[in-house]
């Protein structure tokens, strides 16, 4: 027996459209469906009815590409902890539930259509310095610089950020601190990242501010919704590196 659901979905034709919530009924939903598969079923029906299907970003559908993301019942990626929208399954919802579905909301993430937003600000933050400058072919042997296991592991934990933007959507200030801090921390912890450590922190933080993201007030909503559980203390690391670089 499938579940019957009422969806209230944000529909917005384009960036200029005001947008509104539209109610849809979806019936006979299997608890084993993912949230996006449930939306697929709705969209198949809308197409046949000649309506515009609900536009949403998605790609790998296995929780790693970072492309999907919607605010479900007020929570970025839904209430399931450490889970992307594509990995959220309908077994976590009650039969006859009313579910609201909205896009990420933040000024630097303008809505493109329906649930699709423009997150290119993240790319520009990386462009500002989220890399180690090493042209192909110029690298020394991989074993020439040993790295402490604890450092490598901590760098990995920060590096698992998938760039989905849930942190921004959840933050009351619309801050991109967790995203930016994750990259700064990842590269700061490794010996290879040291030569550009100061310039990187400075440039990335300044770009983040230039994009119009808000400041961090240690609310912690970002890490609470982060599908990869990027720790909040990366932001402390970012602030330390930024202050040191700004001296």
């Amino acid at each position: 027996m499938g579940m019957n659901l009422t969806l209230k979905v944000w529909r917005q034709k384009g960036p200029e459209d005001k947008g509104r919530m539209v109610t849809y009924r979806v019936e006979d939903v299997s608890p084993d469906m993912s949230f996006l598969e449930m939306l697929d079923v709705l969209n198949e029906r809308l197409i046949l009815e000649g309506d515009d299907p609900v536009a949403f970003d998605h790609d790998c559908r296995e929780g790693i590409c970072g492309m999907c993301g919607m605010v479900i019942n007020g929570v970025a990626h839904g209430e399931q902890v450490a889970t992307t929208t594509c990995q959220l399954h309908m077994r976590h919802f009650e039969d006859n539930a009313v579910i609201t579905v909205e896009p990420w909301r933040a000024a630097p993430f303008p809505v493109v259509k329906d649930l699709v937003v423009d997150r290119s600000a993240f790319d520009r933050i990386i462009q500002a310095g989220g890399f180690i400058s090493v042209p192909a072919g110029s690298a020394p042997d991989a074993h020439s610089v040993p790295v402490k296991k604890v450092d490598a592991d901590a760098a990995f934990d920060a590096a698992t950020c998938i760039g989905c933007g849930a942190c921004v959507a959840a933050c009351p200030n619309g801050s991109a601190s967790l995203f930016t801090a994750a990259k700064i921390t990842h590269l700061s912890l490794l010996p290879q990242g040291q030569p550009e450590r100061d310039s990187r922190a400075k440039a990335m933080v300044e770009q983040m501010d230039a994009e119009g993201f808000g400041g961090c007030t240690n609310t912690g909503e970002c890490t609470a919704v982060c599908p990869k559980g990027i720790p909040l203390d990366t932001i402390a690391q970012m602030n330390r590196d930024y202050l040191k670089a700004s001296k």
Binding site: S30, G63, I64, D123, A139, L190
Partner: protein, 642 residues
Amino acid sequence: MTTKYTEGEPIRDTKAPAGPIEDRWEKRKFNAKLVNPANKRKLNVIVIGTGLAGGSAAATLGELGYNVKSFCYQDTPRRAHSIAAQGGINAAKNYRGDGDSTYRLFYDTVKGGDFRARESNVYRLAQVSVNIIDQAVAQGVPFAREYGGLLDTRSFGGAQVSRTFYARGQTGQQLLLGAYQALERQIAAGTVEMHTRHEMLDLIVSDGRARGVIVRDMVTGEIERHVADAVVLASGGYGNVFFLSTNAKGCNTTAIWRAHRRGAMFANPCYTQIHPTCIPVSGEYQSKLTLMSESLRNDGRVWVPVKAGDDRPVSQIPEDERDYYLERIYPAFGNLVPRDIASRAAKNVCDEGRGVGPGGLGVYLDFADAIRRLGRDAVEKKYGNLFEMYERITGEDPYTQPMRIYPAVHYTMGGLWVDYDLQSTIPGLFVIGEANFSDHGANRLGASALMQGLADGYFVLPTTIGDYLANGPYGEVDEEAVAEAEIAVREKINKLLSNNGDRTADSYHRELGKIMWEYCGMERTEESLRKALERIPELREEFWKNVKVSGEADELNQALERAGRVGDFFDLAELMCIDALHRTESCGGHFRAESQDADGEALRDDDNFAYVAAWEYGEQGPVLHKEDLDYEYVKMSQRSYK
């Protein structure tokens, strides 16, 4: 029925240098013409796709000083599906001192590919593999390390040495982010112009050379033309022809198929890899399949009940009523046999009625022994994120009950034909990564896709494309050729939008996928392939008459994007079946039931099929060109993992 094809001239020259195999790449690099740094700025290169191959190629070409335009259909280049690769990347570093070498990686890859790959290419891949690890470490890729600070490695299917470098279960993600960051650095430097949310819909060929692409801006719907001196396709594989596969939803064949229509030969389209360790299908609505890294087979033991129809819970099946069939049949490699063998073995036990889970389409992958031996913590450290992923999808806890797994389409070894320089049969069109056919033969070994993508992108293409560009710039592009390509794209879009039928593109895609899985999947027969070749054209005709696409051309329209891709999948599916039908032998991932030995193992027919099947597009049906494969170094033998 279009089972007919004609045979054309064989391909005699692959442009691989002669001489000892270990010197060939050095020789090619030395003989490749160089481009004066001041001239590089005047040369334009288009790169389609931003996965490991495309991202690393665009970044490297930018570093070299070329003028690069990079395109991807996602909202940022960091999302390409390379990101989902879990297990690791092979490299012949021999950091373990366990007998690995360039030659051994070469040997394992040729053998694993069931003697259907080119020796010269594979040797180069093994040589370059070591540079990839150096490059990635220098970029800050946080590979797993040991307490001494050195890199950790693990073993993987098809190999008896420990040469796979990894970053927990997210190796593809970390390597892709390394390439993405290098690419963003070039975007900031102004050498690469990035076009996200753009999809290539046709190739511009002018005076016999690839000179540009027609793309659709997926936000505004605008059809754009971009010209260049060379075009690089790094658009990935075509596993989504089966609808259900481990590929990302957006992965499609349109870029390479359109190039094929414009004259690029398509090699070995039937070589499909079915991955043995995926989460089984749970229902009709299923939109994709999720792979569990094959590295799980290092510590997990695969089994099914001895008795058919045994539906007791795991805890009530005593040890002596469990059949650890891989360990039983293949004692030397056990659970680590190559993917094609593990997949078919799973299908066989399920066909015997011994499968587990819904529909009997699953086998157990059991970690109870590993947890007893290593402790839960150690298992969690190694596989924690994979276990979590499994739990999230199935609602079952793999620490306390065995996983259920089943094979699923994962990778396509076939792709556009390329020579040693990775150039297709259209001059100026280069193809890299999964989109080409070159290095894996009829079966790819685990942890070799990341290796090939990065080898092509960081090290091979940037050298070989220089040799082509040294003769450029190639001057004005024929305006008529551009206009013709653009009109063709617009007509197709209009056709889809004006159809007003009563079935969605997805529903046709799903049906096509079922035909392919059933008749051109893990096991193929003459009968099944003929059936597929009857049904595909019928369904395709219905699709073009009856598909329903809502919305407009000049807006973000995901229904339109999908319909366009499905249209090309139909044509590709037909070619795959023709290729599979003509190759009456079994080899690697291509298993023809008519060609097996007494034990049910794939039986190659080297006398008749030791060639690459390169298909040329023809209005009257495809034309087959054979490239003979010579094995000077690795003696051809029947693979045995017993």
